[in-house]
């Protein structure tokens, strides 16, 4: 036997940089450099005085972090610049590249905040609190998308699932007074929407992108119609849900700074944390997850080893409906109380963007949702403390930031191979 011929691919020293990597490094590095320089420029125009950061939400006297605005900004900007240059010139092993990016990101935001908050108070704790508020439904929606799309079914209907979830949660909470019943009802209607998605895409092979859009229209129409015809007439009984109460987790909730932000939340937020962990675990550590990913990547291969492709897809899409329905309930019982028409206002589409930006990974999707939540909350807070940036521009900022992040940092993403492709036997 000539064993020698069965060498696997020859491995040359990995220090050589492939052309694709090089392009990526230059692109990402260039963008990092641009941000570092902007940070530096801001640092130079930061006027004197101290920037004050509020560390406990609502506490305006104690727990304040006061730093010299310009000095800190310059320090951070220089540090960021160093990180950008180190990345661009490959001065650090590339496996630490992520850290450099994180350093730059933190330094840039830090310098930016010093500039914006010079002579003012910036509620730092509230920044994170608001981030979480914006991100929670996005995370749940994006997780729902991850589950569907890992199984090969594109889910653009998240927005529609949000709407029906929000709608039913509000009504059930108002009529029964039970939060558990409301969440359950939201999950159930989320599943019903998911069932439509599943049946039409898996059984009737309808193009899934357009199907999703149609389902959003459908959900908007149905909730709007029912709202017009029934809810409006009896708002007092049908549309006055109680909002979930925050529950402080003992010990964890007492951790300074992060405790109140992360561990004094409603059950729905804790469910969201759990959902991220559970979905990650289910997808990557269990038999079910392996099969879900298999049918999303190569359904025929899964079929040939005896896996029922359509059944696996149905289960994934329906479970995703649970998550999206719960995400929808955030808009009413989870946070904002009563229902109004089209109140999810495009958040489902942002969740979709988050899951793509997060490369179809639950944790990535969560990070992307948090990124978007952070940007939205920052823009709102900056409008209050009044910066030289015009409000109109600030409103666009989260969306522009997402485009920049996607084009500059995320780049080409690869969907599950069979995502959106119906499986037809034979």
């Amino acid at each position: 036997m000539t064993e020698t011929t069965v060498e696997s691919r020859p491995t040359a020293p990995a220090t050589i940089e492939g052309p694709a990597e090089r392009t990526r490094r230059l692109r990402v590095g260039g963008l990092m450099l641009v941000f570092a320089v902007i940070g530096l420029l801001l640092a130079f125009v930061t006027n004197g005085g101290k920037a004050t950061f509020q560390l406990v939400s609502g506490d305006l006297e104690g727990s304040l972090l006061k730093v010299p605005a310009q000095g800190t900004a310059i320090f951070l900007a220089v540090l960021g610049l160093a990180a950008a240059v180190a990345y661009l010139l490959r001065r650090v092993p590339m496996r630490y590249a992520g850290w450099l990016g994180a350093i730059l990101g933190i330094c840039f935001i830090g310098a930016f905040l010093c500039w914006a908050a010079a002579g003012k108070v910036f509620p730092l704790a509230n920044q994170f609190q608001g981030t979480l508020n914006f991100a929670t439904p996005l995370i749940l929606g994006a997780l729902a998308g991850v589950l569907c799309e890992r199984a090969g079914v594109i889910n653009i209907a998240i927005e529609g699932q949000f709407l029906v979830g929000a709608f039913t949660a509000a009504i059930v909470a108002s009529t029964t007074g039970s939060a558990v019943a409301a969440l359950a009802a939201a999950a159930i209607t989320g599943v019903l929407m998911a069932a439509l998605l599943a049946v039409f895409s898996i059984k009737y092979l309808v193009n899934q992108v357009v199907l999703g859009v149609v389902l959003v229209v459908f959900a908007s129409g149905v909730t709007g119609f029912l709202f017009d015809q029934f809810i409006q007439e009896d708002t007092a009984n049908l549309n006055t849900p109680d909002v979930l109460a925050a529950v402080k987790i003992p010990l964890l909730g007492d951790i300074p700074f992060i405790g109140p932000i992360l561990f004094n939340q409603t059950a729905l937020v804790y469910l969201t944390y759990i959902a991220v962990a559970v979905v990650t675990f289910m997808l990557f550590q269990t038999r079910w997850g392996l099969r879900v990913r298999a049918v999303g990547e190569h359904p025929k291969a899964a079929d040939t080893v005896g896996i029922k492709v359509t059944r696996v897809r149905y289960t994934a899409v329906l479970w995703a409906g649970v998550l999206a329905g719960l995400g929808g309930s955030f808009f009413t019982v989870g946070y904002a109380g009563s229902f109004n028409k089209d109140m999810t206002a495009g958040n489902g589409f942002i969740a979709l963007a988050a899951l793509i930006m997060g490369r179809w990974h639950p944790v990535g999707a969560m990070v992307a949702a948090l990124f978007f939540g952070f940007a939205t909350q920052l823009q709102s807070q900056l409008q209050i403390i009044q910066t030289p940036i015009p409000g109109e521009l600030l409103l666009m900022a989260p969306y522009l930031a997402t485009v920049i992040a996607v084009a500059g940092l995320v780049g080409r993403v690869r969907a599950p191979k069979a995502d959106g492709e119906p499986y037809v036997k034979g």
């Binding site: 040359a12 492939g18 005896g306």
Partner: protein
């Protein structure tokens, strides 16, 4: 299904023999009868070869046996009992395993994940037990002398190794009947040797094997029984002792000339000149390492090598499909290094890519459209921005005739043609314009003997018209049939350029990295079975 175990010990297997009979199986696709009352008996422990042209209906038959397709009529009998197999899980449950013609592996999964898929090893509660799976794969891999790393991602391993993964996967399913649909199309001669050894082991332990291949040498080496299918019907059976010519004639229905008529080359000017070509792939590995090559007008240079040693990248770099890190490529004295793929095609390079379905044609486009996929801009097919559909159709009609492309209509999507015919579409297109250089990767992979004969003739004809031809192939047969000179690649380097009549053993050793001199010596001392297959 939970947990998994190794295939039973030989004594278990004695009891596990299966007698399989297919009676009158019929299946049509639309108006096409792909299988027409096919009868087939597979005795326990026999290796049964299925032969037939591309599109003869072999895969269709096997897919029915495996539950992927349902027969229109006819029945399947296991140990004399009529059974219905409505899905692959039925087939698996009854002890039928299959290695499919096209890889049924999930590229982003590890080897172990692929192997356990469908019968996962778990720690209870559905949680995967990867350690156990890894151990299992290692054990099987050792038992059959395969060398696979259970933790490697499938997309990162060479196709030859992927094929082994497929085989291990089928083995873990404890098959009593194992169907192998063209498993050798992507294997190197040495790998084929190993596979044949494994098949013998399995047969000895009582497993029956249905073996589909287009390589008559393999059939003769291993078959106990040979059944030939033509146009959906069984046209005869043969003994392994039949000559290759007899088998080919039975398959194709006419005499086939297995040797290409080839006059000695009359090399002219250097057409392609490659100097110091280096390609770094996406993972940062040096795929092509400082390669120098020349191909002259009117000669065929074959690049031989085990899959994954840089030949594919070499071909892609010549076409500008992947960026080069260093070196120059010039055609007819003109430097092409910085040019786009389109400019290179227009400069007179014809290209037949290795993976035709992926890179060679647009499956949903019609035959006619695919025949002008890289010609549509130029007259007579297009001028300015307008497309001349009449000319495109005319061209298609004549190419289909000339290249004997078997299709019901030039308007059908190419995806509905059989593999061999798809390949003819690609070749017909590339040869329908004046070329200075033809680069063809694996031009006859998975193609039946009749079509191979035809394609080879066309390639030699192209050479005789003064085109420089560069063939990348892992088939020593093909190299022997076509090449005027052979360049052997190993780990991205050209380890030697040798004459076409270099003995196979020597080529094989060079493909494993030996220099020309070492190969010469070693080949004479330890001849391998390579020579016989």
């Amino acid at each position: 299904m939970s947990g998994s175990r190794l295939p039973g010990s030989p004594s278990d297997r004695e009891a596990a023999r299966m007698h399989l009979e297919l009676a009158g199986l019929t299946r049509s696709f639309g108006s096409l009868v792909a299988n027409d009352h096919i009868d087939l008996v597979i005795e326990p422990g026999e290796i049964h070869c299925l032969l037939g042209e591309n599109g003869a209906g072999k895969s269709t038959l096997m897919n029915m046996l495996y539950g992927l397709l349902q027969p229109d009529s006819g029945e399947i009998l296991i140990d004399g009992e009529k059974v219905s197999i409505s899905s692959p899980s039925d087939a698996i449950a009854r002890g039928i395993g299959m290695v499919h013609q096209h890889f049924m592996l999930v590229p982003v999964f590890t080897v172990a994940e692929n192997i356990m898929l469908g019968r996962e090893t778990t720690r209870g509660a559905g949680v995967l037990d990867r350690k156990k799976a890894h151990a299992l794969v290692r054990e099987l891999s050792d038992r059959y002398g395969f060398d696979v790393d259970p933790e490697a991602l499938v997309e990162n391993i060479p196709v030859g190794v992927q094929q082994r993964v497929e085989i291990i996967k089928a083995l873990t399913h404890d098959a009593k009947v194992l169907i192998l649909d063209e498993p050798t199309a992507v294997l190197t001669p040495a790998e084929i040797d190993e596979l044949i050894e494994v098949m013998r082991q399995l047969k000895d332990s009582g497993t029956s094997i249905v073996f589909i291949t287009h390589k008559l040498k393999e059939v003769k080496a291993i078959a106990d029984k040979i059944t030939v299918i033509r146009r959906g019907k069984v046209v005869g059976t043969a003994e392994p002792s039949a000559t290759e010519e007899e088998l080919a004639e039975l398959m194709v229905g006419r005499a086939v000339d297995l040797k290409v008529d080839k006059a000695p080359a009359e090399p002219g000017e250097v057409q392609l000149e490659v100097r110091g070509l280096t390609v770094i792939d996406e993972r940062g590995h040096t795929a092509v390492d400082n390669v120098d090559l020349e191909v002259r007008a009117g000669e065929i240079l074959a690049v031989a090598g085990v899959q994954g040693n840089g030949q594919s990248e070499l071909a892609e770099a010549l076409l500008g499909l992947i960026p080069i890190a260093a070196g120059t490529i010039s055609l007819d004295g003109r430097d092409l290094s910085g040019r786009s793929t389109r400019q290179r095609l227009e400069a007179g390079i014809g290209y037949v890519p290795e993976d035709r379905a992926h890179d060679g044609f647009v499956g949903s486009f019609s035959v006619a459209e695919n025949l002008v996929l890289d010609l549509f801009r130029k007259p007579p097919f297009g001028s300015g921005v307008s497309l001349h559909t009449g000319e495109i159709e005319k061209n298609a009609t004549s190419r289909v005739d000339e290249f004997d492309i078997r299709t019901q209509s030039i308007d059908l999507p190419v995806s509905s043609l059989s593999g061999g015919n798809q390949q003819k579409v690609v070749l017909a297109r590339e040869m329908s314009r004046p070329l200075k250089l033809l680069v063809a990767s694996q031009p006859t992979r998975g193609v039946d003997v009749g079509s191979i004969e035809f394609l080879h003739t066309r390639i030699v004809h192209e050479r005789d018209q003064g085109t420089a031809v560069l063939i990348v192939s892992t088939e020593l047969d093909e190299i022997a049939a076509l090449a005027d000179r052979v360049a052997v690649m190993y780990r991205g380097k050209v380890v030697g350029v040798v004459p076409a009549d270099t003995p196979r053993d020597e080529l094989g050793l060079m493909m494993a990295g030996a220099s020309q001199r070492e190969a010469e010596i070693a080949a004479t001392e330890h001849p391998t079975t390579l020579g016989t297959i």
